[in-house]
Amino acid sequence: MSIEFKSLCKSFDGSRVLEDVSLAVEPGEVLFVIGTSGTGKSVLMRHVIGLHRPDSGEVWVHGQRVDLLSERELFEIRKRCGFVFQHPALLDFLSLEENVAMPLRRRFGLGRKDATERAVSWLSQVGITKDARSLPSEVGPGIRKRASIARVVALGPEYIVYDEPTTGLDLVNARRIDNLIRRLATETKVTTVVVSHDLRSIFGIADRVAFLYLGRLHALGSPEELRESNDPILSQFLRGRAEGPMVL
């Protein structure tokens, strides 16, 4: 039981964003979804927890067809499947600590003290100690982002989707996040999908990589396979060259 997309299509205001994307995530693996900006990676991921619904095609998560569920039924899926947004999306009227603690309290009925303790320990795992009591607006974007990761992993989901978790972080913290993602996947068998541009993360922790290009799945394989591939578009992307066959 895992996450699977079956020939998914989605368009917004008449413009096609995703076209016939089929992709299955293996249980317990770390799958990276890469591609240029605006190619529909985030949109694809938002389908997993029912924030978007496909125009056609199917989305399966944990043995259930997500695209047909009602908002209420989706809550069961969302309890199993965490989602880290590209922009941190922390509640701006709660401190970082409360942002992590609030879902814990609501979800598991924890008391304020227990929830705060857990929140503090998860925040320190993503490298936040002294800012835990600040409001999101009082800290930098990197800290907000790490707090939003802590908010999701603290709930102990079976699946986690990360939307660009290391974008905008310094190298040290980016590697820390990579290690956290890898550790969760290895130790607790969390099935993980990561949307990313970060080549170091890709070649550091990915089990498999899916390359989206113009709304379609262009290539799929292990990082090594992709690196050695002769596909001109893929190699232009992985080498980050301005000239090449890629259409934007």
Partner: protein, 300 residues
Amino acid sequence: MTCPPDDAGTKGGLGDALGQDLDASRRGAASYQGSSSYEDGVGASDNLFRRTGRVCIEVLSELGAMAYLAGRSIAALFPPRVEWQGLIISMHRFGVQSMPLVIATAFLTGVVVLLLAAVYVRAYGATQLVGWAAGYATFRELGPVLIALMFSGRVGSKNTAELAAMKLTEQIDALRALAIDPYAYLVIPRLVAMALVLFALTLMGNLFAIVGAATTGELLLDVSYHTFWNSFAENVRLADLLHGLFKAVVFGIAIGIVSCRCGLSARGGATGVGRAVNRSVVSSALAIFVLDYLITYLLP
């Protein structure tokens, strides 16, 4: 109005983003398109019939969306779970935000009412009716309506702005992604808080309005406090006060529904927030007047 492609999420149909069922999504999309061309106003291919039709569709779809929001909020009450923290924080904020404004408005309302009565006092010398007229008019109509209008301008629109900003920064989606119902967590405490706070404010405002009226009478009309008070105490009934307070509760809920709905359906960056706030104030004003008429007419 063009969004960068990565913003596709915020572009993707209102219902999709609020994401409940497909019907709601269609409805939302229709309402958005209707409203945007309505806002722009100066369309070349506009004729009267098209406009009228579009306005009707827009009004109906807005009403539908608001009924939907109310329904979702009620559904989110089961299993019952009171968000005490959110409720108390909201009540405190709403109250603090609008208290000085309400006091000023209420006081001036009293002044205005008495100035209207003044014309009759001067013409017919009917000083013994002044207290009653001021009490009756402010308790039943002017107090609740004007205070609610001010409340919607201050609190309702601020609420819309906040929710709109939360919507545009994906905080609402983040709540949903955490399996927390935004209706239970954000909307219900605000609805309840608005009803309670507006009730309290109207009660307090009535007092200030009477003070304003009595003071104006004393200073401008030579109606002594004593005369005013006698006329007031003998003729104004408890039913008048309760009638107005009932209206205040209804207005509070209406302002809550309208302002939450406008905030949650915001789109399109900073401009979108401004537009949502504007819509919220206007729809609240409409709702207040229409409900006021209905309650006045249906409730003795």
